[in-house]
Symmetry: C2
Subunit: 226 residues, 2 copies
């Protein structure tokens, strides 16, 4: 007798996968590419978005700002005159430390998907949990600040392993901090061999052209056959 | 008819409180004061412990190192010749982003409580969840790096509100970053009015004497009647 088994799973991460796929289908229908942008607190996500999106006309970009509380980052992006949607995670006990697929899904009605080609999701500042929850993105990227130290890939391997782009920010501080770039890149390569990386300074503007070009190229790369 | 109601709670945070109290009783029996040291990744917890504990003979200090993975920080502290116990949180799916009372309890058998007066618990680098879980500590302290920006108290209010000491580290970088100390202190005061703070540089040594004195004074302050 032939039997087919269906394993019923109630794991929270499985539920997240299901909702992430639903998000993905909605994004696909609207023709929107999505990047999940992550980092530790204060690594420079918002500043890099300010600099990278300034003057960018194509693709049309929207931002979903994830924060435990407040709308400081969304306010900062107001000057860019692009659609910015704030998503706060503090409805839980002390605030969720990450975005998950369901939180992003709850924001979908507020997102003008028909008016954008690229949605940038700025996750909660945290190097652990955001890497564990897919949200329906095409690509995961992270920002690491040289002020955080060269050991971070080894201490938060899942985060560095989950990303397709690692942006090393605040390189203007290199003369003033104990950060060995070669060692950082070796640590990065140890947890995510061959991953793309770039070096930028949101403060001085160094490398921002490359960052802007990378952002602008996401929709085309997402549409290309794998 | 007189009835007494007992509300049965199965909340995870309630269970954590119960275990935190059990930890607290064990620490009290052993005469050990406990500080829960928290920060974002790369704010300088380990370096500040290296500097602050160097040459400190009294009180006798032990360290419990919380990390998602690896023992890089514990290895760095080996030169201090004090008891250091490593606690890794990666037994979960992608690693827990914080220490809770039960994790600390699981480490108790490995801690030489009879040989120390002060236990420093270095939490996982994260500005959200560590603030939500009591572990049986006497005092919570956090380290904020000037490289992270002056807005952090407003974005992670629970963390800044939960602490009795906020150490502002990396002040040697002040000439090189956009960080308004007065605005940071005003933001801090907005979420935790009157909280104690100090400014230090683990790199140059500025303020380290005060940091060492604060650490050394924890057992005496913990023993004083409230």
């Amino acid at each position: 007798m032939h039997r087919t088994k269906v394993r019923v799973s109630e794991d929270a991460l499985d539920a997240n996968e299901t909702i992430a796929r639903a998000n993905r289908e909605d994004f696909d229908r609207a023709g929107v590419a999505v990047v999940n942008l992550m980092s530790a607190p204060g690594a420079g996500k918002t500043t890099l978005l300010e600099r990278g999106l300034e003057g960018l006309r194509s693709p049309r970009v929207g931002v979903l700002e994830g924060d435990v509380q407040g709308s400081l980052d969304a306010d900062r992006l107001a000057g860019l005159h692009i659609p910015v949607t704030q998503l706060n995670t503090d409805s839980g006990f002390g605030g969720e430390c990450h975005l998950d697929a369901n939180m992003v899904r709850s924001a979908l009605p507020a997102l003008p998907l028909d008016e954008i080609d690229l949605l940038i999701v700025e996750n909660v500042g945290n190097l652990v949990c955001p890497a564990e929850f897919r949200i329906g993105e095409d690509v995961k990227a992270m920002i690491a600040s040289v002020a955080e130290g060269e050991d971070k890939p080894l201490k938060y391997p899942l985060m560095f392993r989950s990303c397709e782009m690692v942006v090393v920010n605040k390189i203007d501080l290199l003369p003033h901090v104990d950060f060995d770039m070669d060692r950082f890149l070796a640590n990065l390569d140890a947890v995510n061999p061959g991953v793309a990386s770039m070096r930028v300074s949101a403060r001085t503007g160094e490398g921002i052209d490359g960052w802007r070009a990378w952002l602008a190229g996401i929709p085309e790369r997402a549409a290309a056959p794998a």
